[in-house]
Structure formats: C-alpha cells, structure tokens
C-alpha cells in the first residue's frame, strides 16, 4: 500500500502550490498514471480521499488519466504497445523490450479556487 505514501506526497505538493499560486481550495486534481507505474488505481482513489482530509484538497475530485505503455523492441527495431512488464512484444514475441512510456505518475492539472 505505498499508494498512501504517494497520496501524502500529493498532499504536500498541493499545499505548496496553494501558497505559490494563492488558492485555498482544490476542486479537482488531475493525475496521469501509467500501466507500468506499479500503482493500483483503486488504492490510490481510496488513499486520496483519506489523506486529503483536512487539507486544501479535502473532498476534491480525483481525475485519473490512464496513459498507455510503450516499449522499444530491439528485435523489431520499433515501438510497440505493452500493458505489463512481463509481456512479450506483440509483433515478434521477444522479451528484448525497453520500456519507453507507461511509468508516469504525475500531477498534470489542478482546478482551484
């Protein structure tokens, strides 16, 4: 359950941003989460509601944008989609893959007032 720790980190960032950008309330947090980020989206949602209590983002809506996984296949010498780390290349079946996208865990946007 490191999702709780990630939510604590989000909370700290939001508190910092509130001082920086002068807002007192966050209505929506938009997060980008990749399929290879090691995060359970449901656990993150649960943790978010619990951890944001008493902060500028109490009751905020959590908007999760699930990005897509992508790897460079060294056999095909091209980019191929992947959903999980142990999956073979969808084109040639090789495991010689280098992940190029899908590990994102990023706050993208805040709706504040």
């Amino acid at each position: 359950m490191h999702e709780m720790a990630l939510c604590e980190s989000i909370r700290t960032t939001l508190e910092e941003q509130s001082r920086l950008h002068n807002f007192t309330k966050v209505a929506r947090v938009s997060l980008e989460v990749g399929p290879l980020s090691g995060v359970e989206v449901e656990a993150l949602r649960f943790g978010f509601d619990v951890v944001m209590r008493g902060s500028v983002a109490e009751g905020a809506h959590l908007d999760i944008i699930e990005s897509r996984g992508e790897a460079w296949c060294m056999v095909c010498a091209e980019s191929v989609p992947i959903e999980a780390r142990f999956e073979p290349c969808v084109k040639c079946g090789s495991h010689q893959l280098q992940v190029t996208a899908g590990e994102e865990l990023r706050i993208k946007e805040l709706e504040v007032n």
């Binding site: 490191h2 960032t13 142990f86 504040v112």
Partner: protein
Amino acid sequence: MSQTRLIQIEQDILAKNNAYAAANRALLARSGVLALNLLSSPGSGKTTLLVETIKRLRDRQRIAVIEGDQQTSADAARIRETGVPAIQINTGKGCHLDGHMVGHALEELAPQAHSILFIENVGNLVCPAAFDLGEAYKVVILSVTEGEDKPLKYPDMFAAADLILVNKIDLMPHLDFDIAQAVANMRKVKPSVKVLEVSARSGAGLDRWIAWIEAAHALERIGADATAQLSD
C-alpha cells in the same frame, strides 16, 4: 474574491523522494561509499545473508548497515552482533523505506569513506520498488521456497533489480522449484539481469556474491577518486 481556475503543474509524484535520493547518492559518491539496497519478501533471508556476508568481508572492508522494519529492531541487533554499526529505521505502517528516512539514517550513521553500506529494505515485493534511496544497486532476493512465478507476479520489483540472488538453494533437494523457469521469468521482465544462486545457510555461492560486491566497490572507489581529481 475567489474564482475557479486551472493550474498546469506537470509534477512527478515521486519527485520529492527522488530529490532526497539524489542528495543521498551525491553524499555517498563523494566519500566513495558503495550502497546496496536489499529487497525481498519477508523471510527470504535478507538478514541471514547480510550476517554471513559481513562475516566474510569484515576483516578487509569497512561496513555499515541500515535496517528497515515496520516494528522491531531485532534485525539491527543481529547485525550488531557481527561487530559492524547498524541503525534501525522503523517505518510503522509504512511498507517501504524512502529517500528521506535514509537521509536521516545516513546523518546518524555517518558511514566512513570507502565503506560498504547495506540497506535492508522492508520485506515487501511491491512498494519498495518505487522508492529510490540513493543506492548504487538494487539487489533482489528470491528464495526457492517462494515459487518460480514471483518475477511475473511482482514485475516492477524484478525489473528494478540490478542483481538477483536466488537464496536457500540448500533446500532444492526437498522442493520442486524449477530454477531454470524462475530465471526465464526474471529474464521476461529484465532480459539483461544477472542472477546468482546462493545459500546463506550452507555458504554455497557466497564467494561469487562477495566477488560481485567487491567489484562494485572497486568501481565506486574509482568513480569517487576520478570526481575528486576533477574538482582539484
């Protein structure tokens, strides 16, 4: 008067941890300390392996240990019995060590120049994978009683490994653990990963593990010396 507005921030959620980890890494590099982050599920043999490793290295290397555990300080006590300094970090509910905790432990422990620092992470094959501590290498331990499928069940951890130790090979005669299959599964998540078979109990394979540590230590030392020369 407040008005609804949008703020684009594009901030990595792990950025704070990564910043602490980077500070730790810089500190360790300056003094040529080799830091190894040991990761596994509970009971794979991290502490036992550490104790056996320390016994084989302590006459010729300076060693320090950071022990992560949710509750107890039993592991740090086991390490101190070998005569090397150890600090216990209790994470409480936290299921992993993070860069900040390790930074504080480093201040307290103050490892000597050119020493080897072992960090035993909290026993867990999921959460610690996401948190860089500033180590030079992540060493993942899988014991033969855990099953060949673990690399596929916990791919993030095995993908993050720089070295994998398959421990408790003394038990192989009593099990149907298929080591070739386990290694094939590790290679599915990380084709280039190095794997060593060891037994902390019998000592089998430990000489190669020790050789790996000392080679890594030599590299760290060369790096630190080169950096020192550049800044002269």
